[in-house]
């Protein structure tokens, strides 16, 4: 079961900060995921987290959160739920191929070098059928060499604590 303390800390909160949640579920009613599926309920996620309940990595909220901040904006306490979800994703090790490619580029050059990200995620892009958009992307293509940012000016890469292992069946205990 995901521990709340490290997740809250990642998102810049303490556990007790979530106890102010009034349960009004306004976050659920404004959530963008309502347009995609039926079970958008950030309030339940906060509650489960607070009570150390199971959180499924298959939950639609974790998978589809678009960081639109509708919930945070509507929340009476302005709890930044998207950041809690991002912290959860990080803690549960749910990074996708594209996110990994993004971070790897930032580690290497200090910036996102798009050709590198594209090549690194290429098998994923082929498998998932992204190539059909290539015709529409011609206006985005331009060539430039990567710039390497001086390492000492970059924030130090954090050495992560041992992450929760991803288990079969999508549940993290």
């Amino acid at each position: 079961m995901p521990k709340i303390e490290p997740i809250a800390e990642l998102a810049g909160y303490r556990r007790e900060d979530f106890s102010v949640c009034l349960g009004c579920k306004i976050c659920g009613s404004v959530c963008t995921i309502n347009d995609l599926s039926r079970d958008a309920n950030p309030q339940e996620l906060l509650l489960n987290l607070f009570l150390h309940q199971d959180i499924s990595s298959e939950s639609n909220l974790l998978r589809f959160c678009t960081n639109c901040y509708n919930c945070a904006n509507a929340c009476p306490w302005k709890i930044r739920i998207p950041e809690v979800i991002r912290a959860l994703r990080e803690e549960m090790n749910l990074a996708t191929t594209f996110e990994k490619a993004f971070k790897s580029s930032v580690r290497r050059w200090g910036r996102v070098y798009e050709p590198f990200v594209f090549l690194k995620a290429f098998p994923f892009l082929v498998r998932e059928g992204y190539l059909k958009y290539m015709i529409r992307w011609t206006e985005y293509i331009n060539f430039h060499l990567p710039h390497r940012v001086k390492k000492e000016t970059l924030p130090e890469a954090k050495v992560r604590r041992s992450r929760l292992p991803r288990k079969e069946g999508g549940k993290v205990r």
């Binding site: 990642l10 589809f64 678009t66 991002r86 594209f98 996102v112 430039h144 710039h147």
Partner: protein
């Protein structure tokens, strides 16, 4: 006026067009944009650790400081007026604004600076009479409140000033799902299609990610950066 300019990763790559346009427009209006030396990625929305994410932007602001600092008198002068930083990419703008905790910098998005005085200082050759536009801000410029742009009617104001008509006000701050584009494509498709259906005319955006998401799923609708409209009005672009 001198601004420290933070282009961000997208604007050096896929959104090069936006970068060129912003530089051009600001130069025409008599402002000086100086790139922040050796700037690094702002981390966008890819980092779960808030501290780690903010550190990227703190590093950028530190680098921006070197443009304004300077020894002796100049530094003393700068103490009174805060250093100005311009960031056109909504995600970068947001991250920089969140990292600016001690309020030592004044952060601007180009939309906040394109006021009437600014627009009168650039030459206008054409107008947009008889054309319909749907301004689309997307999420990051509008929410959350503390990092949103100051002027939430900026695009409407600029388009009306140029003579264009505004439609589709309901979708201006909906989410296009761009953030999920390279994770769950169908989710982005569904959200973007709602925007494409409920808008009329050309969709005017300012976010590189919205531009990419909407362009990918539109059949033959025009998706334009606001800067494209300005360049057209200035006579730098032949057509929209």
């Amino acid at each position: 006026m001198k601004y420290a300019y933070y282009p961000g990763c997208s604007l050096t790559g896929s959104a090069r067009k936006l970068d060129k346009a912003v530089r051009h427009i600001f130069q025409k209006a008599g402002h000086e944009l100086v790139d922040i030396p050796d700037w690094n990625c702002c981390g966008a929305f890819e980092y779960g650790d808030r501290k780690e994410l903010m550190d990227f932007s703190v590093a950028n602001l530190r680098k921006a400081k070197t443009l304004f600092g300077g020894p002796g008198e100049a530094a003393q002068k700068r103490e009174d007026s805060r250093a100005e930083v311009l960031a056109p990419c909504p995600a970068c703008y947001r991250n920089l604004k969140e990292a600016n905790t001690e309020d030592r910098f004044k952060l601007y998005h180009p939309l906040e600076l394109l006021n009437d005085a600014f627009l009168s200082s650039i030459p206008a050759q054409r107008d947009l009479k008889g054309q319909i536009f749907t301004p689309y801000y997307g999420c990051v410029l509008m929410r959350p409140e503390e990092s949103a742009i100051g002027d939430k009617e900026a695009m409407e104001r600029i388009i009306t000033r140029l003579g264009g008509e505004i439609e589709g006000r309901k979708i201006r701050d909906r989410c296009c799902g761009g953030n999920q584009f390279f994770i769950n494509r169908w989710a982005t498709e569904k959200l973007s299609r709602i925007i494409l259906e409920k808008s009329r005319g050309a969709i005017v955006v300012f976010c590189p990610l919205c531009h990419m998401a909407l362009t990918s799923f539109s059949r033959n609708r025009k998706i334009l950066y606001l800067t494209d409209l300005l360049l057209y009005a200035m006579g730098e672009r032949r057509s929209l």
